[in-house]
Amino acid sequence: MAEIILSATGVHKHFGGLIALNSVDFQVERGEVVALLGDNGAGKSTLIKCISGVYRPEGGHISFDGQDITGRAPSAIRDAGIETIYQDLALAENLDVGANVFLGKEKKKTILGFIRVTDDDYMRQEAVKVLDRLDIHIPSLKQRLVNLSGGQRQAVAIARAIYWNARLVIMDEPTAALGVPEQRKVLALVRSLRDQGIPIILISHTMTDVLEVADRCVVMRRGRVAANLPKGQFDAEILVKHIVGAGDLSA
């Protein structure tokens, strides 16, 4: 069994009287794609937000790569190596690929002995290198992102994450807004990330995506983990059954 890199145990979170997470256990191993499924309100997003630091859980522990990250600030958790890519991708679409990969951490150089300017060529070259690693080729790197396709933008968001050494990537509905060919590309990206040893938590409603790339499926229902199924033990029918809770007497 591979090494566990992320481990959440007994995570508890409520909003007023509503219990969003009820003693949730959740693990991710190095180099696996874990699909996180569940109906709206099942607790997927709350769990993800507890991991990424947006919410502070009231109970339980979350540890990443041996260190306790429970209740840390989002920026601290990102620095620890967990990168969350939301549906809106958090890119500046008016800037080019290099500028986006280096956003907020621009590489600078000195000209005329004392003036600090952005080193755009360097940033573009580095962006190409990291995109090559993902097997993504963007025609013109001076293009602003607004002129790229949805899949290419997704690739830029992932490229940025791994350039800054993300060691766990959380993707929230990465294929939701894309056409079919673009969806294929994003799934290929997920695989290529995994092949580089970077584990991924994939939140998705799209059953075909999940069946295609997931090594393990975790289904949530009413704030609890309803099922934790390794590869070979799930298909579309089983997953749907767990998501809607059919056959569960307590439902």
């Binding site: 920026s75 809106d88 991708l89 958090a90 890119l91 500046a92 679409e93 008016n94 800037l95 500028a99 956003l103 907020g104 951490k105 621009e106 600078k108 600090r116 300017v117 952005t118 080729h137 025609p139 013109s140 293009q143 607004v146 002129n147």
Partner: protein, 371 residues
């Protein structure tokens, strides 16, 4: 790489021409207007008229520089018109009072100008705090500041329209700097530096050309510095990023609140420079010095291709926009068109500018999705 070169080479000549026209239309428009007025307006085509147009355009250009930064972050600064007036009044009044109090002209000017520039930052700081920290919409915050600064400027003139009565010695120096030129061309004498020679015969005076007026030089320096900051530095990059996607900027660790504060301070600062220069040119302080120029500065920014939705724009565009407005105004005066028409013509140009910029963006999108 392959697809980009392919899509570029499939562009035919007509498309490429269209592209150049769409991107640089402001330059072509400027050129066309200069040609038109030169052909139709008697005396329009002359070195002195051109240098006059540039000097007149400096006010709007300086305001438009700061306004460009603001608009790129998808804000607007309505207060700078009166910030110009505030700086003008503070500089004129403090120089006058210091010289009347016995201070030498040089130090008094230095002190007066510094004070005016510092005071002009105050509305910018307050705008920045209101917009970045208290989350007041930029339109409302700067509209409020518009009234406050206007009142403050008139308080400093004790309600008068002008701070005049400057001591003669001071007035001479201000006039020389505000209306002088670094380089003149004098018929029969050639190029003369720094000052126009005295005692020239009248027929020669008419031929003297101001080649490098001081206000134009000062403005050019400000343009170069702020264009450089916007285009080449991290500060500029973050300005665009905030305009493009403020959430992304925040998540990338950019201190958006501080950055926005600086943007409004910067906007007030270029307005302050404009106000000080106004005092020099007219050897008086005028609270309403920038009143009419406010909307023109927004117009210049828009004509220059800066998107009011934020994230896009260039200083060079704003400067061209300011010169276009200057050429229009001067040209219409020379053609003896009633000044009321200026408003209408400038208004039409603004709307056309926005339409052209939108069409250009649509064209670009269409082309890249096809390629």
């Amino acid at each position: 790489m392959a697809t980009a070169t392919a899509s570029k080479s499939t562009l035919n000549t007509r498309d490429r021409l269209l592209d150049i026209l769409a991107k640089g239309w402001a330059y072509f428009f400027l050129l066309a207007m200069v040609l038109f007025f030169s052909a139709t307006g008697p005396g329009f085509f002359s070195v002195n008229n051109f240098s006059n147009i540039l000097v007149t355009s400096t006010l709007v250009a300086l305001m438009a520089i700061g306004q460009t930064y603001v608009v790129i972050t998808s804000g607007i600064d309505l207060s700078i018109g009166w910030t110009v007036g505030l700086a003008s009044v503070v500089s004129a009044r403090s120089m006058r009072d210091l010289v009347n109090g016995g201070m030498d002209i040089g130090p008094a000017m230095l002190l007066g100008v510094s004070m005016a520039l510092l005071v002009s930052l105050i509305p910018g700081i307050i705008n920045g705090i209101l917009i970045a920290r208290v989350k007041v919409p930029a339109f409302i915050a700067t509209l409020g500041m518009y009234g406050i600064v206007r009142g403050a400027a008139f308080l400093l003139t004790d309600g008068q329209q002008v701070i005049g009565n400057l001591p003669d010695g001071l007035r001479e120096v201000l006039r020389a700097l505000g209306n002088g030129s670094l380089l003149y061309y004098v018929p029969e004498q050639g190029f003369v530096w720094f000052a126009r020679p005295d005692n020239l015969p009248p027929q020669v005076i008419r031929g003297v050309a101001s080649l490098l007026p001081y206000p134009v030089i000062v403005t050019a320096v400000v343009v170069v510095v702020f264009a450089f900051i916007l285009g080449r530095t991290q500060f500029g990059r973050h300005t665009y990023a905030i305009g493009g996607n403020p959430d992304a900027a925040t998540r990338a660790g950019i201190n958006v609140k501080n950055h926005l504060l600086w943007i409004y301070v910067l906007s007030a600062f270029t307005a302050g420079i404009a106000g000080v220069m106004h005092s020099f040119r007219f050897t008086a302080g005028a609270p309403q010095a920038g009143e009419a120029a406010l909307l023109q500065s927004v117009a210049a920014v828009v004509i220059g291709g800066t998107s009011l939705f934020g994230g896009e724009g260039k200083i060079s565009g704003a400067v061209i926009g300011a010169v276009i407005i200057g050429v229009l105004q001067t040209g219409l005066v020379i053609l003896n068109v009633d000044s009321i028409w200026q408003f209408i013509v400038v208004g039409v140009v603004i709307i056309v500018a926005v339409l052209v910029n939108q069409a250009q963006a649509a064209l670009e999108r269409l082309r890249t999705t096809n390629g």
